[in-house]
Point group: C2
Chain length 147, copies 2
């Protein structure tokens, strides 16, 4: 009996790998940005959301209240909205400002860091708009071939 079984070796490799992934900046960013609501919230705070009829200078950051965000991002639960906003604040991507009116007023706004992140989002959006239909074509093609 060896001192370490194959299963143990794999388990050890996995631990090392998880540690590597946890420390990898790109992985962290990917996890952050791919969160279901992050992209939408950033877009909304960047005034790039849908339902905008007036003329809006693109990229012009905008402060929004909790309830306004909630309305624009129809479909998000309060839990996820709050949770996501908290984590974004924690990461320094948005600011949370409490005005002690009655009832209390809370506004959220993009920081410079959050704003710079939008450039990355734009890159993603650009690739998606250019190539996603091609991907979709491959996909349906693959599916019909397999039946």
């Amino acid at each position: 009996m060896p001192t370490m079984t194959a299963a143990q070796k794999r388990a050890e490799a996995k631990v090392e790998y998880d540690a590597f992934l946890a420390g990898c900046p790109s992985r962290q960013l990917l996890d952050r940005v791919s969160d279901k609501w992050v992209a939408l919230i950033l877009a909304a705070l960047g005034s790039n959301g849908p339902h905008r009829t007036g003329v809006v200078s693109a990229g012009e950051p905008r402060a929004m209240r909790y309830s306004e965000l909630s309305r624009r991002l129809a479909g998000v639960s309060q839990k996820m909205l709050t949770q996501t906003l908290r984590s974004l604040e924690r990461d320094g991507l948005v600011t949370r400002t409490v005005t002690p009116t009655v009832p209390v007023t809370v506004t959220y706004e993009l920081t410079d860091l959050g704003l710079s992140l939008q450039d990355v989002m734009r890159g993603i959006k650009a690739w998606a708009e250019q190539h996603m239909n091609e991907v979709l074509a491959h996909r349906s093609d693959y599916d019909t071939r397999v039946d």
Copy 2:
């Protein structure tokens, strides 16, 4: 009793929203790219993986066997590796080539589409390397303030 309760309205809004998200190219790309193993597989096939000691021209795509990928991406289960490779093939991002030797040989290689996607990945990587420590600083700062 109204014809539609508030809960029903919210449920309907959610359905609409889910449909919107499902059809949104950026969302689809984000889901695809943020998959736990996709970025690693793309990086490996692009010869940008770790454990490379020799001189490698960056961006030079490279065909790799299943077992080689499995070794380089220590920590991935066969199930996830196979599943991820299949979905990448389905999307036209990698090619799967079966050579009927005995035992059978299967190689994977990036397509042009997959290669172009790496540009986006580079953008993500760049932002992460430039700003992630700042994010991390905000994060620990936030955590100590809250205690």
